[in-house]
Symmetry: C2
Subunit: 473 residues, 2 copies
Amino acid sequence: MNVQLAADLAGLVGDDALVEAPEDLAAYDQAARYEGGRAALVVRPRTPASVAAIVAWCVGHQVDLAVQGANTGLVGASTADASGRQVLLSLERLQSPLEVDPVNRSVRAGAGVRLSAVNAVLETHRLFLPIDLGADPTVGGMAATNTGGARFIRYGDMRRQVLGLEMVLADAAGTIVQLRRGLRKDNTGLDLRQVVIGAGAALGVITAVEFEVHPRPAQTAAALVLLEDLEAALPLLSHMEREGGELLSAFEGMSRAALSAALAHGPGLRSPFSGPLPPYAVLVELSTTRSLKPGDASLTNHLEEVLADWLETDDGGGAIDILTGAPEPLWAIRHAISEGLRAKGPVIGFDLAFRRSDLAAFRRTAVTRLAVAFPEFEICDFGHIGDGGVHFNLVCDPEAPPTADRLSQLREAVYEIACLQFGGSFSGEHGLGRANLAQYRALTPAPVRGLAARVQEAFAHRALGAVDFAALG
Amino acid sequence: MNVQLAADLAGLVGDDALVEAPEDLAAYDQAARYEGGRAALVVRPRTPASVAAIVAWCVGHQVDLAVQGANTGLVGASTADASGRQVLLSLERLQSPLEVDPVNRSVRAGAGVRLSAVNAVLETHRLFLPIDLGADPTVGGMAATNTGGARFIRYGDMRRQVLGLEMVLADAAGTIVQLRRGLRKDNTGLDLRQVVIGAGAALGVITAVEFEVHPRPAQTAAALVLLEDLEAALPLLSHMEREGGELLSAFEGMSRAALSAALAHGPGLRSPFSGPLPPYAVLVELSTTRSLKPGDASLTNHLEEVLADWLETDDGGGAIDILTGAPEPLWAIRHAISEGLRAKGPVIGFDLAFRRSDLAAFRRTAVTRLAVAFPEFEICDFGHIGDGGVHFNLVCDPEAPPTADRLSQLREAVYEIACLQFGGSFSGEHGLGRANLAQYRALTPAPVRGLAARVQEAFAHRALGAVDFAALG
């Protein structure tokens, strides 16, 4: 712990904003699913003005600042690095405002307000923020990461919701700027908010977010469609987008290995399968905000009809079976996959995304090539395939963990197939951090990296957070 | 005409790319609804490489370049200025590629391809680009302007569709960059595409656009809801968003004066009103991609039920009557408004946008204040009020046109009420151009203008198009 640093920051924002004790630092240093880091100290301001004071001080004193919301990030952007020299700016105390405008269907919230807190407040208005995730991030973190999730196909990502950002620039003054405000239509010059969304902390610190919210569904229906392979899922997707129409709210793919891991390890999960697990399954969901009226057919009936229509088309041949039922138990399987994989053994995760038209060919190619070159890893892929997203995760035998070299060969092979051969993304929805900077450098064309470097310099005198685009330009 | 300039540009991209004859220049110089300008010459390259050569030459020779798509813009950004010295770069010949990927539901098109051409190609796939406009712009212009339109409430703006941009930077080399490609999820560093969308040509020249397209509706139903005032429309909007649910595809407001002008001047329009015109009316539309199946109730029945439910709520009291019918005649009235107003007299247009919760108060305030201070102008407002958009247009007596001073007082008064008092946008969907630069300067906070200036400098050695953010910073 740097005593002078602590004294200086305490002088700026007060003693009680600092966390210094090693035992208290752990929660800020440990990361959700990567190695984490070690902060010199943690500072937790309560107001945008305090954030501005801290940022300006760090810019002036050339002190590195890591920025953290709920510390739920997965790519090495939520914690300090391993140097022990960075100040970690936690935004968890930026809890106000939390204002709901039901007529505008919008909320303005401090960056530290959690998704669950937003949705709790919105419940009485029968509204919600429809970003559906395993974690419970802050709204500031969601904007900085451009969080996606399992209902993207209906509602899009966080970018689509954001109607305004308040942020602190990393300049000598810690200037506070407001980028757009609460309007759905506003084309009055450069929409700078848009390049801040998904930029992590590289362009500054988001202190408040205004975002659109949506009527909560009143009816939901789901089915598990068992398929011969992922390829059969794509005509089903087109059918559901047309005949399920506007009600389609999820289209999640799961490989046999992912299903198996979920069912083996998910606490209290009941298998819906009477026979052997299918090679591939899709969780299809319809939902509507319309309340069920007397005389209306149930949404489950409607989903069954739409799926029955598909079975009668030429494309329906890839189907093995269709299981309809209450949505919750089906979602429970989907949500148990990540834990199930970790229970099986060390997980090597890839957050890939493709054009939907490349999903099947990528999977075929990757499965074939990895089976030969990396037989010790089991492919347990799943994902938001309606949006082209694939969590292409592999599990290895916990008794025979791979060497670092072997792991890096595997990573290289997967990115080569996914990004170079199929034009996919190396980070569909998890963003950029220390964990995937090497891919940024290797896979982003030099003129685009140069442009990013210059844009960062336009915003910031000094890079904040885990990624310095200027250094990568 | 500058002979040397013409010779230089012809040397770069060939004689046949130039338009020099005064009679041919008119179509490029005349604007849709503003004064237009006068180009030194027009150059119409066929390839991104030729665009790059022209841009690099102009940057190197410090020649001003105006950039034009279909010349349908409304704010003084589509034509050269009045100096007669600017080169006008028309992108109308950038007609390739025009590639459809039906599984990905996406299209990649040259910047010069028109909306109508995209939709003609998509018809066989039962897909469409759902930006609904009176004009027929190019896709490059739509991305540069971030076009909105009448189905925003369902599909959003052009930003929401864009999956990738190819652009030429205004640097010494005319560097061609590709900003994202065809993926719905891709969070791999700064999303630079997002700040280019809606930036006009200030950051460079868009040469190709990749965008999401959507299944075409198979059923549509519409109704005209006659109301005591705009205030009564807002509870109806909330009701429709919940109980009309995912099928709501338009919610367009029309004042009595706008309706009257449309009906008086629209060729062949039949009035649906049996009595006097209502003070305010809303065109509500539901649509679905689901085809009508035997035994299904018609969508019109469904809409009638949803509206009947609303009449029974406490909020239904503001309704005078509900007219359901075929959508086309109702849309014909809506689409006849602009022409109708122009037929009445000189139009002073305002493309405003508000939080939906401010719409009624703004209208009340503006109508009251303008009636006193500017009685010679008739307010004929209409707009996409489901998104907060208001075309707050005024018409004056053609026999007694206002002085320039009077007009500028009127503009100032409207912007003062709309933007300062109610936090509205001075350009909801028409973008930024010479026509509203004064508002940009007056209404955008200095730190945000400074940021925009620096971001432009990060992209461009020299400003292109009608807006130089660096000069406005």
